[in-house]
């Protein structure tokens, strides 16, 4: 061999070791192929899923919120189109120029421009930044016309809730607002959508789940920076269902307008047979349209600080001593327990003596009412008569009847914010103060003072239960989802003797025919009402004030917060009770017959003229999910 001496040996070594090396390489290649097989065949399914997770982004599409309509089908909560101008920085060559042109159309303030620039700097170049929301139609048209000068500016249509009745039904319909952190725990993922609004009060809140609808989904292909490349698929959601109210818009507006003549007042109009509420008004109110777009903090503060509490639905959340309206309860309790008979009579000389304490009647100055039977006791609202009945009946029996009539506990109205009022009893006092009950307290309670407190809705419910002949009517403002109203002739009968209920109703008729409400009686034939006045004291008069006969003057001098509340509750027509109306004028400083009575009278007349029980359009047109 022509190989250099010694070369043969090292060539052999080299060949041998090169083969080793080649073998090692083969092994390493097998390792690579094995690994590829593991990743691309064995684990392929898992990695395909991960790759899809990467590129496919599920986006929820917010459903359209269901409408709220009144009993005639009139819309009281609507979805308005919210036109928004957005700007995408990567689609505009010169952001400042574009914003300048835009500012010529919609007048952007320096602080707005500041925010827009800030948002654009913080987001990726392809993410749209909101320039302005709630554009008018004219502004939208102007932007569309100038589109060639506005590269990168997009008009986007969203939805914003609007309330045509504004402050006239704010407490009842409620409003929507941004989902709070605590509400996010809900299972519905749509709540987490940016900008999603949910019901915050009123019917918007109680029926939120019906109104909300189901979110649709859109599968988007996105890249690593989150930019959407294309839509892969879309599944439409389901718009929220329509919710029908028992409310009659016209009555609601009338009630609210009438109440606005007072500084602070509330009214309830309901059906004594079905429990359907036709109007639920609390004045003053607020404009929920402002709320659904976000409340300016100074407006919120001024609403909170207002002593007429515009944010509170006083018809269901305000608790007031019911005054003489409570005498209906005491009368029925006296009869039911047998403490008095139907022919019970009391002689009123202006005062009632219990132990060494003297209780006064309003007729004290005129030497008292004289001798009165039950009907006249109610009609003339004699305090002494009811001091006597209350004293005979005892607080626990009064409380029991009061509870049966819907007092002392929430009625169960289907909107939030209801309060239960207070009906004291011996057990109640023991539990709250640890003190025993004193007989003198019963005397105050017998005329609806002392610890007794009730909401206007409770007072209306009380009379509805009496006027329906003792049925446990429960008030409600919404119908079931089909839009049909269950005919509630089937409210359970309360265990009262019919003649006892009738005796109380006779007292109410007498009150408007010739008693405390005689000036109020409706003149229209067949529409006469029965009712009960009430004047609830906030300030306790001293004996000196009573003796001086200067009560009216004292009243005028009292600060608003200490003036008397004026009540009136009535039903009509007298012979066939159907509609109940309760009115409270907060701190009116006048008697119930003067301040609350005329309001209730006007409303009961209008109610009978409209006869809302016959209006039931939505029952024929059941709400269909869109």
């Amino acid at each position: 061999m022509a190989v250099e001496r010694g070369d043969m040996e090292r060539y052999r070594t080299l060949t041998r070791r090169t083969l080793m090396l080649g073998g090692l390489q083969a092994g390493m290649i097998s390792l690579l192929v094995g690994r590829m097989y593991y990743l691309q065949v064995v684990q392929s399914g898992r990695y395909k899923m991960l790759a899809d997770d990467n590129r496919i982004s599920m986006r929820l599409i917010a459903p359209s919120r269901g409408l709220i309509v009144d009993r005639a089908g009139l819309v009281v909560a609507n979805n308005d189109q919210n036109f928004r101008a957005l700007i995408v920085s990567e689609q505009t060559r010169d952001v400042e120029r574009t914003l300048g042109v835009l500012s010529g159309i919609i007048q952007l303030s320096p602080s707005e421009l500041e925010r827009i620039r800030h948002d654009m700097a913080r987001r990726r170049r392809f993410v749209p930044v909101t320039v302005r929301e709630n554009l008018t139609w004219e502004q939208v048209s102007m932007i569309e016309v100038n589109a060639p000068d506005l590269p990168g500016v997009i008009i986007d249509v969203g939805e914003v809730r609007s309330y045509p009745l504004s402050d006239q039904a704010a407490h009842l319909v409620g409003y929507v607002g941004a989902v709070s952190e605590s509400e996010l725990s809900d299972d519905d993922p749509v709540l987490a959508l940016p900008g999603f609004k949910m019901g915050k009060s009123g019917v918007e809140k109680t029926r939120d789940e019906d109104l909300r609808g189901t979110a649709g989904t859109s599968e988007m292909e996105v890249n690593a920076y989150g930019r959407t490349i294309r839509e892969l698929s879309r599944e439409a959601g389901e718009r929220g269902r329509k919710v029908t109210l028992t409310i009659d818009t016209e009555l609601q507006i009338a009630a609210h307008k009438r109440l606005l003549q007072e500084r602070s007042a509330a009214a309830v109009i309901m059906d004594a047979q079905t429990g359907a509420v036709y109007a639920l008004a609390s004045a003053p109110g607020y404009d929920p349209n402002v709320f659904s777009k976000g409340i300016p903090s100074d407006l919120w503060k001024s609403l909170l600080d207002d002593e007429t509490t515009p944010l509170i639905n006083k018809a269901i959340g305000g608790q007031y001593p019911p005054g003489s309206t409570f005498k209906l309860v005491v009368a029925l309790a006296g009869l039911e327990t047998g403490a008095i008979g139907l022919d019970h009579s009391v002689t009123c000389n202006g005062t009632f003596q219990l132990g060494d304490h003297t209780f006064y009647c309003d007729a004290y100055k005129n030497g008292g009412h004289g001798t009165l039977n039950l009907t006249e006791g109610i009609a003339r609202s004699c305090d002494v008569y009811f001091y006597d009945v209350g004293n005979r009946t005892g607080i626990d029996a009064i409380a029991k009847v009061a509870n049966h009539l819907g007092l002392g506990a929430r009625t169960g109205l289907d909107i939030p914010g209801e309060h239960g009022g207070t009906i004291p009893s011996t057990a109640w006092k023991k539990a709250h103060t640890g003190e025993p009950w004193y007989a003198g307290e019963t005397i105050s309670c017998a005329i609806g003072q002392g610890q007794v407190a009730a909401t206007p809705l409770q007072i209306a419910t009380m009379v509805a239960r009496l006027a329906s002949g003792g049925h446990a009517v429960v008030p409600h403002v919404t119908k079931d989802i089909s839009g049909g109203e269950p005919i509630r002739g089937d409210w359970p009968k309360i265990d009262f003797k019919p003649e006892h209920v009738e005796a109380v109703l006779a007292g109410m008729r007498a009150a408007t025919d010739h008693g405390t409400g005689k000036d109020l009686q409706i003149k229209e034939p067949g529409m006469q009402m029965a009712g009960k006045t009430g004047t609830a004291q906030v300030h306790a008069y001293t004996v000196a004030e009573r003796d001086s006969g200067q009560i009216a003057k004292v009243d005028d001098a009292l600060p608003w917060k200490l003036k008397n509340h004026a009540w009136f509750v009535g039903y009509a027509p007298q012979d066939n009770p159907r509609y109940v109306c309760a009115v409270l004028v907060e701190h009116s400083g006048k008697f119930g017959a003067q301040a609350a009575g005329p309001v209730a009278r006007d409303l009961l007349l209008l109610t009978q003229q409209r006869d809302p029980a016959r209006i039931n359009v939505s029952a024929e047109l059941p709400a269909k999910p869109a």
Partner: protein, 382 residues
């Protein structure tokens, strides 16, 4: 193997052109073309910014390869030590420049027309120098530890410079290629076991001397889920790209991981997952197979050479190519930590392509000049 005869006539250019290994060159062109296609896809079906420069550079490198191929092997032999010395000097220069440069890793020297990474060229120069060294050593010499001191220093010196840069990938490649040269050069087998054991023992020291980002890479390699959006993002997304490709791939230009930018560095170090995502297991294995063929072909060239320098040069260059491919693909598959080694002729980047093509040129040169006998004492005398 060709008949070995004395005093063969010097090969002429015409004969060299005739005996060019066309199959080998075709495979090289195939790899370069695959690179062009992958880079076209990486840019979302666009020749810019990567595919076009890549293909132009590849064409020019092809010319460099052919030019290198025709250079007489004795010229390479004579250039071996000077080239090594020059590269070592350049590496040192980079290290000095790196101290004043703004970047932590200063690996480039700007020669005006092209930016050169001396560390890439050092991979060739080291093989050349070691081949020349062992060419002059007899089988018995190579068994002596004393003889191995110089080659060991030849390996460690550039490795140290490269580590200082810091460039872990190239350092590993230099070490492994050097070890392969020692192996085929005839160093005693027990030495490898001993060095391996010593290396293991030195691991804690190495760990302490590593840069923070290098440690993070190793930690991330051991468990990518530690930091899925940070350091583990690369390897996690790379595995997803590979795995989701499946057996037959998503199709050319249809890889979602790469086109939607989930796969980072997809045009450079992570181009293999892009290929495997679009072409599947078969495509990936085909590319690996092509590289394996090139490497084995090169080893074959070495075994056919009648001079020890040519043999070792060819084997060393082939091992180099194999190491590029193995380290790159193993790291994108998550078998080894991410160390920053490109996939030759496919990853976008000028210097690595030029270096690899120069290596191929020398390989062909070894083939074309396989019958030239070079004395152990050449060029000092017969």
């Amino acid at each position: 193997m060709a008949q070995i005869t004395f005093n063969e006539p010097e090969p002429k250019l015409g004969g060299k052109i005739k005996s060019l290994p066309w199959f080998f060159i075709l495979m090289v062109i195939a790899v370069g073309a695959i690179g062009g296609g992958a880079l076209y896809s990486a840019a979302n079906a666009s020749f810019l910014p990567w595919a076009k420069p890549h293909l132009i550079r590849f064409g020019m490198s092809l010319l460099v390869m052919l030019a290198f191929a025709f250079v007489d092997i004795r010229v390479w032999f004579r250039l071996a030590y000077p080239a090594y010395a020059l590269m070592l000097a350049l590496l040192a220069g980079v290290e000095v420049a790196g101290k004043v440069g703004a970047f932590g890793a200063q690996r480039w020297i700007n020669l005006g027309f092209v930016q050169i990474q001396p560390s890439e060229l050092m991979k060739i120069a080291l093989v050349m120098a070691l081949a020349r060294y062992f060419h002059a050593r007899s089988s018995e010499d190579s068994q002596r530890l004393r003889t191995l001191i110089v080659p060991a220093l030849m390996i460690l010196a550039p490795t140290a410079f490269v580590l200082l840069q810091p460039n872990l990938g190239t350092a590993i490649m230099l070490m492994l290629a050097g070890a392969a040269m020692l192996l085929v050069g005839g160093a005693p087998m027990w030495l490898f076991g001993a060095v391996g054991a010593a290396g293991l023992a030195a691991l804690p020291v190495v760990w302490r001397s590593m840069h923070g980002y290098q440690k993070r890479r190793v930690m991330t390699f051991l468990d990518p889920s530690v930091d899925p959006l940070g350091a583990g993002y690369h390897i996690t997304q790379s595995r997803i790209a590979l795995g989701s490709g499946g057996l037959f791939g998503k199709g050319f230009l249809r890889g979602t991981q790469s086109h939607l930018n989930f796969l980072p560095e997809k045009q450079t170090d992570f181009i293999f997952p892009l290929l495997a995502e679009e072409w599947g297991l078969w495509g990936g294995v085909a590319v690996l197979g092509l590289f394996a063929l090139l490497s084995y072909y090169g080893i074959g060239i070495g075994l056919r050479s009648r001079n020890q320098f040519g043999r070792m040069l060819a084997i060393g260059l082939s091992v180099n190519l194999f190491l590029y491919v193995f380290i790159n693909t193993a790291m994108v598959m998550g078998l080894i930590p991410v160390v920053g080694v490109p996939l030759p002729l496919i990853s976008y980047g000028g210097t690595s392509m030029l270096a690899v093509m120069m290596g191929f040129g020398m390989l062909i040169s070894v083939l074309l000049h396989r019958d030239i006998k070079i004395s152990r004492r050449y060029p000092l005398g017969d």
